[in-house]
Symmetry: C2
Subunit: 243 residues, 2 copies
Amino acid sequence: MTFASHAFPRVLETSIFRIGLDDNDKAYLGSLGFILRRYPPHAVISRQGDGEDRIFVIHSGWSCISTDLADGERQILDFPQKGEFVASRAFEGEAPESFTAQTELMVFEAPAKAFVAGLAHSPSLAGVLLGAVARQRAILVQHLTNLGRRSALIRTAHLLLELGVRLEKANAAKKYGFECPLTQYDLADALGLTAIHVNRMLRELRERGYLEFRHGSVHFLNREGLEHFAEFDAGYLRLPGET
Amino acid sequence: MTFASHAFPRVLETSIFRIGLDDNDKAYLGSLGFILRRYPPHAVISRQGDGEDRIFVIHSGWSCISTDLADGERQILDFPQKGEFVASRAFEGEAPESFTAQTELMVFEAPAKAFVAGLAHSPSLAGVLLGAVARQRAILVQHLTNLGRRSALIRTAHLLLELGVRLEKANAAKKYGFECPLTQYDLADALGLTAIHVNRMLRELRERGYLEFRHGSVHFLNREGLEHFAEFDAGYLRLPGET
DNA sequence: CGTTCCCTTGAGATCCGTCAATATTAGTGG
DNA sequence: CCACTAATATTGACGGATCTCAAGGGAACG
């Protein structure tokens, strides 16, 4: 279940922390006790309300962070990708959201306490962390804008375009699109729609020649046209340090 | 337009930064060049896409942060309240959102560059900042959940309850509710609705005996019942350091 | 006292959800 | 490779929530 912590420097190279840290910082990060863990599909890694406080860096696989509602529904906030980080309690208070594996998931994991305390020892790490938090925030803001002010069709397109770009930045995209193990129910919970309507929107996007989503993979057919149609501007996905 | 920076320690006492900082930290904060500025109603303080990078702490008045869409619409993300802070560029990249005064607005303002650089000099400030960012994130997450998974009626109630609690924590609420200069158009842009429908939802809440929103003030008539109806749990609004 | 926001209400259209049924795919064990 | 099952995808018909369009009323402010 757990692996040698010396595996951590590897993912560092492709993670959100790869920029802006000198060797001292990296050595320090490596000392924080990150371990590589594996979770099976549908494992709940951190549940809303938990007091436990951990930092995760995605190594491989798909997962989601979500809020759980009283009636059993959920709102998916994001699908964190390889190299991105997740803070179960967001550094304060009780966990406001749940973190769930969707496929088999490999994550680097460390207690948040040591991580936060470490910010004092590595000032540049604090800056990098702020940058990473800012990017996460920008993604959340786009999802919020999606839900509030865009039609179901554009909203669906926008999310798939975003995931495509994020996977490209993580070097996990194919030439034509990307592998996407999400079900239409998952998409619905992220888009504030029903799975049935997501199905209709995917069909509409296919009939308009924009993309195909079949058998777990998204295939862009007219990406430029789709980006224009969905008013998609990838600027908010810029990684810290990226020009 | 600008006031002596020694006014800053005053708001510190009631701001998000009031907890967890020792005298050294506070003295350091005071040296970062915060000035008190006044903006007239509807002033655009920071526009989406700006490169300028400032930190604000709300002193008095109402404002909103929003994303601007191509068709001229906007999605309001939040209404920051007294003592809360706003980072125009969120510490990285270009401003992903606009910051606009809604009433006359007084803010403490400082260049973000010095602020971020200062985190190295004041490790506990970094921790406090993370806590503040975490709270902002929790608020965003609730707004996202509101838009995605709650009906227009509950969504409206939830936002007004949230604003009530936040104003109480800023000591800016009345006994029965709070002064609220927002128009129904403003609420609509925050709730992902049209102003017309907001109007109908407010009527419905009034007719159900939950609250009145008239002449710029929100009056809770059955707060407990409303909190239950709207599945409102104020836990996510806990201030850093608050039990 | 007139203008300008802002609020309020109604009627009809549209988008999206609900319910119900079937088809397809993926997984499992024989 | 096949039979069976569960999960997922697909489609249609209908209803309800929300939007659009249109009109008027009220409050604030000069």
